[in-house]
Symmetry: D3
Subunit: 72 residues, 6 copies
């Protein structure tokens, strides 16, 4: 299976918070943590849970660039 999405960040799920319609999934990827907002349905169908290995995928058109830090 091959996917056009270039950005793949393998890590470990640290938290899955399920709401009524959406779910927030947090991963630890190296020194960074990544938060994903997906549908609750997806989170349940994939059986996502803390401690599980997973990869965060991001399309190139969705990445912004920040320089000269200083972001609170």
């Amino acid at each position: 299976m091959r996917l056009s999405t270039r950005n793949r960040l393998p890590g470990t799920i640290t938290e899955v918070q399920k709401g009524d319609v959406t779910a927030k999934v947090t991963l630890q990827v190296g020194d960074n943590h990544i938060v994903a907002l997906i549908t609750r349905e997806s989170a349940e169908e994939l059986g996502l849970e803390a401690g599980q290995r997973a990869t965060a995928l991001v399309k190139a058109t969705d990445v912004m660039i920040l320089t000269d830090e200083g972001l609170g």
Copy 2:
């Protein structure tokens, strides 16, 4: 300055490829490389170039989750 965008991946720019309207910016972030597609105008206004420290920003609604790897 404080931004609602949760996902911040600090790294170093390894390549900036400018097209007529868009620009592709590649960063090394820990063990991963991240590709961003932005407008050429933005790349030039920020003076982005290889070797520069920069942070990739991604909104939580734009992150997908992949499990059981096997992605070519």
Copy 3:
């Protein structure tokens, strides 16, 4: 009225699930079903309900390509 968004998938709403802030709308489009995550406010203002004809719209920059299936 003319819209730059190229991808238009006409179908029939099969389910509208309203959360506190968001709403999940499922459409049947030919042999496929499409899930949209919109604000609850939008779902209510448009009066979306099962059985209604509607069109799913997707911007070209938001479409990814997968080849050699095998996706669970």
Copy 4:
């Protein structure tokens, strides 16, 4: 701090509606009102509340164009 995101709409927050996982933030920007769907976590960390000055940011790849109005 410099950001590649071109579209910046300074305004005033008129409403913050917090759900279990997401939050809907409404701003008045000139004659227009803008709705943002972000994570509840972001809304709380930024301490967003009605009356506060804030800027809506939108990536160029996320903007669509509509002509010959007539949109209900």
Copy 5:
């Protein structure tokens, strides 16, 4: 015709820059200018040109919030 996209910014096109695959469209919306990156095909089919009235559309999930300005 009714659309779930909440954010509608009516303005005037000030520039259309066509690349090989994409097109950058700039609008003046009140005191702000908005840049959209769409496909060249869309720009041509809509016959977009400077001086034309048009509306920028943005989905709520694509809007980020910035506070305490100071953004270069």
Copy 6:
């Protein structure tokens, strides 16, 4: 391999147009055609070409809903 992205539209590539940085890929999916804007690099790495079977993937947060057609 399992992916949180709910919307999967299997079809056949009818055209691949490569620009300097981006590529426009058109698929026929049932009675509809779908246009994807991806990086040229992705299109080349996946070896995308007309006649090939492929699936268009779209995240639920990127789908908008239109009712009472009348869209030019």
